[in-house]
């Protein structure tokens, strides 16, 4: 299995020779550095300021509670007394940060799961490609294969349209289409349109319209 990157490598701490590498490294490490600084502030109640200049001479800075107050404090050597109003603003900001961090963690976890799913889908596709010629990339197909594929797809398209129309009809005329004796709703016969949709057609409806049960129903 081909890996996308080499993974973590130990590098020598000396100025990087390739400019493109320098720029990429700067971007990544700056972000990582700010992240570490932010964590230190949350975990230990530290106050930090970091200023870095990019290879393109742009100034990036991170500060908690804010760059300027920390810098001024450093320059003047006067420990700033924390006034009441400042503390209130602080507390509010900290609450926001907590909330944002929760959302961030959740999003990152979901992203991780989706990436994994993507890799599984890739593998599945790869496996079936070897077995089924019609799943190969179009550029690898011969002319008559393409023609066959095209005809099959046109047929499928017609059926998709037909099925779509069927569903729409059934949604607007529920009383005429419920399946008799369907027991998936506990013996429900008739009832509201919602019941018919589910029991009569075996559809899986979700808020986003994605069939959650779909994957298992097919293979």
């Amino acid at each position: 299995m081909a890996r996308k990157s080499k993974g973590r490598q130990k590098i020598e701490i000396t100025r990087m020779s390739k400019e493109s590498n320098r720029l990429v490294t700067f971007s990544k490490r700056r972000s990582g550095l700010f992240k570490k600084a932010s964590e230190l502030c949350t975990l230990c109640g530290a106050e930090i300021a970091i200023i870095v200049f990019s290879p393109g001479q742009k100034a990036f800075s991170f500060g908690h509670p804010c760059v300027d107050t920390i810098v001024d404090r450093f320059l003047s050597r006067n420990p700033q007394p924390n006034s009441g109003s400042l503390q209130l603003v602080e507390a509010h900001r900290n609450a926001n940060v907590r909330e944002l961090n929760l959302q961030l963690t959740e999003t990152l976890d979901t992203l991780e799961a989706e990436k994994k799913k993507g890799e599984e889908l890739n593998k599945m596709r790869k496996d079936s490609r070897d077995k089924c010629w019609w799943e190969a990339p179009i550029s690898e197909l011969g002319l008559q294969q393409l023609e066959q594929l095209k005809v099959a797809m046109e047929d499928l398209k017609k059926n998709v349209v037909k099925q779509g129309e069927k569903i729409q009809m059934e949604e607007s005329n529920p009383s005429r289409f419920f399946a008799a004796g369907s027991s998936s709703m506990g013996g429900h016969v008739g009832g509201g349109p919602h019941d018919v949709k589910v029991s009569g057609l075996g559809l899986f409806m979700t808020p986003h319209g994605y069939t959650l049960g779909y994957g298992h129903g097919f293979f």
Partner: protein
């Protein structure tokens, strides 16, 4: 690197907090150093701890002052343009993560739909798809058909310039063309096509890329494409290259 996952909240335990602070502060200083050296850029860090009135500074008090001066000499807009605090920084990270998630989800949906399409092409029923699925499937079908058409056009175009000479050669009964044909090529007569035309097409593109186990018969009179779709797969028999797309739709 630690093995325990740290809960991102203020560490209540004083000694734990103090030791964490020491380690992480050291780590940050190391990282600033690395960033500065690897990328050959100016950088400084100032850390105030709750335990000390004196801040810890990198690279040095003097060095930091120099960099601060450089920073503060810039126009205000340039200073603040890329300035963040915890809140804005976290918000940026969140936005980026959400964008990546959106993209990944879209990607996955496309892959899923592609799989569905192929399943349906070989006979799986549509009854489990809701309107949104059907819509996406339709979109994917259209897109794929466009690509297939494009590819067909490309392959047919590629042969056109040679058409006349080849046709003439065939007409004169020359067999040189046949000698050029790779063995085992499948010939499929298209409806309403001259045999020579399909010969040429196959010659151009048909290569041994087909998976093993597939029939590779020599040229024969084939049934029209449409009926192929209804015949069964009989690889390696009488030369009928017949891959079926049985389009039976189970009435759910």
């Amino acid at each position: 690197m630690t093995r325990k996952k740290v809960n991102l909240a203020y560490i209540e335990n004083e000694s734990a907090r103090k030791s964490t602070f020491k380690k992480r502060k050291k780590g940050i200083m190391k990282k600033v150093n690395e960033l500065s050296t690897l990328c050959g850029v100016d950088a400084c860090a100032i850390i105030f701890s709750p335990y000390d009135a004196e801040p810890e500074v990198w690279p040095s008090h003097l060095g930091a002052q120099r960099i601060i001066s450089r920073f503060r000499r810039m126009p205000e807009l340039e200073q603040s343009r890329r300035m963040v605090n915890q809140e804005s920084f976290t918000r940026q990270r969140l936005t980026k993560a959400e964008e990546q998630l959106r993209k990944q989800h879209k990607d996955n949906r496309h892959k899923e739909m592609t799989h569905v399409m192929f399943q349906c092409l070989i006979g799986e029923g549509l009854q489990y798809l809701n309107m949104a699925d059907l819509h996406d499937l339709g979109v994917l079908l259209n897109q794929t058909m466009r690509d297939v058409d494009g590819r067909i056009e490309l392959l047919t175009e590629a042969v056109l310039p040679q058409d006349m000479t080849m046709v003439n050669a065939m007409g004169r009964g020359e067999n040189s063309f046949n000698a050029q044909m790779p063995s085992g090529m499948a010939m499929l007569t298209m409806q309403n096509q001259q045999p020579t035309r399909s010969l040429l097409r196959s010659n151009v593109h048909f290569n041994a890329q087909m998976p093993s186990g597939m029939a590779m018969p020599t040229m024969q009179n084939q049934q029209p494409t449409r009926s192929l779709l209804r015949s069964n797969v009989r690889p390696g028999l009488d030369g009928n290259v017949a891959y079926t797309f049985p389009l039976q739709w189970s009435r759910g």
